[in-house]
Amino acid sequence: MNYYPYEDDSFLFSKKSARNVFIVLVVLFFSIYFGSEAFGYFDTALYGYLWATILCFVLLTIRITSWTLRPPTRRLWKQGIKMMFSPKGFMFVVKTLYTNIVEQRFIRKRTLYRWAQHMLISWGVLLSFAITFALVLNWLHFELVEPKVYEAVVFGIPLFRMVADSAVALAIYHGLNWTGILTIIGCGMALYRRLTDQKKIVEQSQEYDFFPLFLLIAISITGSLLTVSAIWMEGAFYLGIALAHQVTVIVFLLYFPFSKFWHLPLRFLAVMVPMYHEMNEKKQCARCGRDYATAMQISDVQTTLANRHLSTPIDHTNLHFSDMCADCRRVAHRLGGYGAKIELGQAHLIVEPNGKNGLQLKKGEQR
């Protein structure tokens, strides 16, 4: 197998990772500083979670740095961000954020069952993230402003007040229980599908597909047991359950950047795709003349392949195989196998086999 590194400078990844981790740590420190009002409202009960969260952010930053160094990834991010700043591009991104991330329409098109299970798991996890990070990083805290009234304070800014035993307060105290229930139901549905559809999902594995489900269920159950212990068991086993919950959450946070959960950051690149496909000039196939792609994407793909030492040009022409649509690429190979001349009608060229299973400009033809 040919192996080529992504960049000539072998220290580029280390340098960029170090820089990005430094930026993330500085931002995190100041967010904790301002969130906790200069450490005045620092929640020491969540100290273990705090370090695991910081480490999770560091590992995630390193993984994202490595990912964005890949030529195709870098190219798509750059093009997407450039296009996003036009009014039309911005509208596209807002719309895609809704359909892809909020509604997850593409999963509904796969099957309704998977959509339901994924909505439950993803929203369970995302909302849990929001609550956990806000509390662990001390961005949010509650202050007792009157004998029976709490005030929610975000980054030192008072947001709203609630009576301590009101229905709203009850819903908020148990926020993580509700998201935990969503996650347990979703994971149960996913486990059922993975077990009953084993023959169809042949590529699934214990480590990659089953372990994350068990982990999420373990986190949700241990978390909910804390409430059970506090409300119905007079606090029995509370410390043990709290420790078990902390261990499962820390395992999750450290496992997050290198596991199935890694697809979460990837989905943000998907938001760029509809805009990338729609907002650019169409390109015609060099052989049949049909619109099959955008000129920008073909040029991006050719640049990427050149970076990876995988260019596939048609010899003695300016064309690459990617200048033809997929149908014409397949037919061209087969006609070449017959030793036939192949007319690229749109490009006004005639090509022939190059004797090494590729194609070249027909001898005597002008470029």
Partner: protein, 187 residues
């Protein structure tokens, strides 16, 4: 080395049994990954099937911005992983053989995985099982590459870029025009 697909396309009669067989494979979700192309429509009846070529260094995987395309231990290039694929179509343009397809609605790329559920247990892929003319066969890789019964393609030179594929293509006999089985060879 294991077994690979061998396509002797001068034998193809264009029946498209492979296309339908592919659709029926249990892991394929009723989406066919096989192509049968008419080579000179209106002039000849020549057709050819094309499965994935299973490149040793696949351009589809190299061009994927989210590393969704993985290679199984036996060298089979798998379809994009469902949770990672963002439907950008880079793979469909990068593949010099024109193989990957993308479902725009489901936002997922799908391509021949050599019926991984079958081949990982030693059974032939659906297309090879149903082909009535032995155009598509599931053969020993070493034997087909080292002692081919006729000229074959599995190493491709595109302007100096060498791409080696696991799938082997048998070339039509344009010298003696002896189509079909050759005497004593059985291929």
């Amino acid at each position: 080395m294991g077994k690979v697909l061998y396509i002797d396309y001068e034998r193809c009669i264009g029946c498209k049994a492979c296309v339908i067989g592919c659709e029926e494979c249990s892991g394929h979700d009723h989406l066919s990954r096989m192509f049968v192309d008419e080579l000179n429509p209106g002039e000849t009846v020549a057709t050819s099937p094309t499965p994935c070529m299973h490149c040793v260094t696949p351009a589809c995987a190299e061009s994927c911005p989210v590393q969704a395309i993985s290679i199984a231990a036996d060298g089979t290039v798998l379809s994009a992983s469902l949770e990672k694929c963002i439907g950008c179509k880079n793979c469909t343009y990068a593949c010099p053989f024109g193989i990957p397809k993308v479902d725009d609605q489901k936002k997922v790329m799908y391509k021949c995985d050599m019926c991984y559920d079958r081949t990982s247990k030693g059974r032939p892929p659906m297309c090879a099982s149903v082909c009535p003319t032995d155009t598509i066969r599931f053969v020993d890789e070493d034997a087909m590459k080292n002692e081919p019964p006729k000229p074959v393609q599995f190493k491709w030179d595109f302007g100096g870029t060498i791409i080696e594929t696991r799938t082997v293509i048998g070339l039509p006999d344009t010298e003696t025009n002896q189509f079909g089985y050759r005497e004593g060879e059985g291929v």
